[in-house]
């Protein structure tokens, strides 16, 4: 939408740009400091909401042990103390970098986050690649064919991408390409042998294809890519629709600019105008939206991971939530909150560097 606003004449912008150095520094500082309340609010919210849900001991043992024994265990673990004291204790632990161990399977939270976070990161990268590969060219094409049949079809496609839940897209992909045609595996990140090979690596990044490339294991790499295709498409298409529409709107916006008109009058071909002249400035807003898409991707990852049994943060989160494992859920939410807050910060800074009007 921002591109639709006319650029102010340079005479107006000039005096501002002189003081931009100090303004930008202050802007970055303020935005940086805003990260902390964001994380704090989310962590607090989740802490209290999770406490309303009950306690992990009752969730795991309810009905199996007599009530007195459960009460004793709850008391031992300290879940019957006043909420506010538990909350202060929790904040103190976070402040000292102690995230504790998960209640249901007794792993250190940091280790759990690193292991499953890498899987989710891998999925997010894969689907972002799909989204960009599909969204940008189609968006440029739609802008080029504006208000004609291909444009209408592509707009419809974009809405369809949004309207299809990832798990339904996943189901259709599975039915067609795994069960029907047998091209891709039904679920999982890799086959058992590859999983084993990956777990034996000395210093793994946890991102499988990267690890496979680093250890020159091409067979494993092929296997990993083979497994990654369907989940990446299912989650990527969701974002591809957003990119398509954004690129279309912005290319149409820049196609109307004077410099494009000047190019056209010099006889530059319409194809070249779209791909060379109009599209680069149109990509700037994508940076901003990509930041916002991170939240969407993380939310979609929970569903995609469950659909494809991709053992990442989202998949684990659903398991831990069912077990009322506060410690694990809070750890995951904390990590997600940090990712979202930091991404938004980076995006805002990028936007401010690109467009001085953003600073305030």
């Amino acid at each position: 939408m921002t591109t639709l606003i006319d650029t102010p004449p340079p005479t107006v912008a000039a005096p501002k740009s002189k003081s931009a150095g100090g303004g930008l520094g202050k802007y970055i500082l303020v935005r940086f400091l805003l990260i902390f309340p964001t994380i704090f609010i989310l962590v607090t919210l989740v802490f209290f909401l999770m406490r309303i849900t009950g306690d992990p001991i009752t969730a795991a043992q309810g009905g199996r042990l007599p009530q007195e024994q459960i009460d004793a265990l709850v008391h031992q673990a300290g879940y019957d103390r006043p909420l506010f004291i538990q909350y202060l204790e929790y904040l103190g632990q976070i402040a000292t970098g102690n995230f504790g161990r998960t209640i249901s399977d007794g792993r250190p939270v940091i280790e759990m986050l690193a292991k499953f976070g890498a899987a989710t990161l891998e999925l997010a990268i894969n689907s972002l690649v799909v989204a960009l590969l599909v969204g940008i060219p189609l968006g440029m094409f739609a802008a080029h064919k504006r208000d004609k049949v291909p444009d209408a079809l592509l707009r419809f496609f974009a809405i369809l991408c949004y309207a299809t839940p990832v798990f339904f897209a996943g189901l259709l992909l599975k039915l067609t390409f795994s069960v029907g045609l047998g091209w891709f595996p039904v679920a999982g990140r890799a086959s058992t042998t590859t999983e084993l090979a990956m777990s034996r690596l000395s210093a793994p990044t946890g991102i499988y294809w990267l690890d496979a490339l680093r250890s020159n294991d091409l067979a494993a790499f092929g296997d990993i890519v083979h497994h990654a295709v369907l989940p990446a498409i299912a989650l990527g298409l969701l974002t591809a629709g957003v990119f398509l529409r954004l690129v279309r709107t912005n290319v149409i916006g820049t196609l109307g600019k004077d410099y494009v008109e000047a190019g056209r009058s010099r006889g530059v071909s319409e194809y070249r105008l779209v791909t060379k002249h109009a599209y680069k400035p149109a990509l700037i807003p994508i940076i901003t939206v990509m930041g916002l898409q991170i939240a969407l991707l993380l939310g979609g990852a929970v569903l995609t991971e469950t659909t494809f049994e991709w053992k990442g943060l989202g998949y684990q989160l659903a398991q831990y939530l069912t077990a009322r494992d506060f410690v694990a859920v809070q750890g995951i939410v904390m990590l997600l909150a940090v990712i979202v807050a930091v991404t938004n910060f980076v995006v805002d800074i990028l936007a401010a560097l690109i467009d001085p009007r953003v600073r305030y």
């Binding site: 639709l4 805003l34 309340p37 964001t38 609010i41 989310l42 919210l45 989740v46 909401l49 999770m50 309303i52 849900t53 009950g54 504006r146 208000d147 209408a152 419809f156 809405i159 369809l160 949004y162 309207a163 299809t164 839940p165 798990f167 339904f168 189901l171 259709l172 599975k174 039915l175 795994s178 069960v179 029907g180 039904v186 149409i252 916006g253 196609l255 109307g256 939240a295 969407l296 993380l298 939310g299 979609g300 929970v302 569903l303 469950t306 659909t307 989160l317 659903a318 939530l321 069912t322 859920v329 939410v333 997600l336 909150a337 979202v340 807050a341 938004n344």
Partner: protein
């Protein structure tokens, strides 16, 4: 033609209603998309309202006079869309599911509008520390993955799964928590803009109370975009509800039919090539969201003069008119 356009004709009620007035104003492709959307929404609403009449069986019915329903029966005969692994009739559950979805949308969006609009008006009008705190909190929630928030809220409310109204309320609240920040932002921004308008200042000069200014002067002006947000959010509400159901944090299958839950159960069928248990509820989600989005999008485009297509003055001068239109909207 031209003189008519300048005399403000008295509009009938039909003309002033959001959707029907948009249909009148639209042309060509925009009209097609809007009409497709309206038809899809109408089908959804009819299915939701008349579910007891339309559905051949109940949503949790697994047997009739002729005996127990077969499990995972292929579409055809008594069960035109087949049956699930639990013996439920797929067609019936899809129809009943529209009722669940419609109820959740109404509950969630109404709650979100009430809370969000109220907070937005108050925060935007009075400003100060309350405004700052609310903005930071709303931004924090807004940035967070909506589905995760909905899951946590839903668990907090119903501690797992529950009956029809319990489940509806839990899902409704969960979705509300997601939407309140959105309404809050929109309404707050509008309120701040309107606060500087002369008519608000004159009301202040005359001595109207803050409550009256907010309730009468600002509210009516700030909420003009609400029908649009409503349609856009209704589609998101359906997706969130389906996501909750898919992950198993929704409504129990015995107390209501829910598309997302049915899709969850269908995932394991897919590996053995049983497609009908998942494809039909999934298609129901897609078509409903598609319908709502098409209506919302078209209304958005029609409200924006830069995006609105215009009826051609004379059908013979096609070329020139199209060119003018492009210039206006670019």
């Amino acid at each position: 033609m031209s003189t008519e356009a300048f005399t403000p004709a008295k509009k009938s009620l039909l003309d002033r209603l959001p959707v029907s007035s948009h249909i009148r104003r639209s042309v060509g492709l925009q009209r097609t998309m809007l009409l497709i959307g309206v038809v899809l929404c109408a089908v959804f609403l009819v299915a939701a309202i008349f579910a007891p009449l339309l559905a051949p069986y109940g949503y949790s019915q697994i047997s009739d006079d002729a005996g127990t329903f077969p499990a995972q029966a292929a579409p055809g005969g008594k069960h035109p869309w087949g049956t699930t692994v639990g013996g439920y009739d797929v067609l019936s559950r899809v129809i009943w599911g529209s009722q669940t979805a419609a109820t959740v949308i109404v509950v969630a969006v109404l709650m979100a509008i009430f809370i969000g609009v109220f907070l937005g008006l108050v925060s935007g009008y009075f400003g100060g520390w309350l405004d700052r705190i609310l903005v930071v909190v709303a931004d924090a929630i807004y940035a967070f993955p909506t589905l995760l928030l909905a899951i946590v809220v839903s668990i907090a409310i119903n501690k797992g799964q529950s009956g029809f109204w319990g489940g509806i309320l839990a899902c409704g609240f969960a979705i509300t928590a997601v939407f309140v920040p959105q309404y809050f932002r929109v309404i707050r921004a509008e309120t701040i803009r309107l606060k500087a308008e002369p008519f608000v200042e004159s009301a202040q000069v005359v001595g109207a109370s803050s409550a009256r200014i907010i309730g009468r002067h600002i509210f009516a002006n700030a909420t003009r975009t609400l029908p649009l947000i409503f349609t856009l959010n209704a589609s998101e509400a359906i997706l969130t509800l389906a996501g909750l159901g898919f992950l198993g944090f929704g409504i129990e299958p015995s107390s209501a039919a829910e598309w997302g839950f049915d899709l969850n159960k269908a995932m394991s069928d897919a590996s053995s090539g049983i497609w009908w248990t998942g494809v039909f509820p999934g298609a129901a989600i897609v078509l409903t969201v598609l319908g709502l989005t098409l209506v919302g999008e078209s209304m958005n485009d029609l409200n924006d003069p830069r995006l609105r297509g215009r009826r051609r003055a004379g059908s013979k001068r096609k070329g020139t008119e199209v060119k003018n239109q492009t210039e206006v909207s670019a």
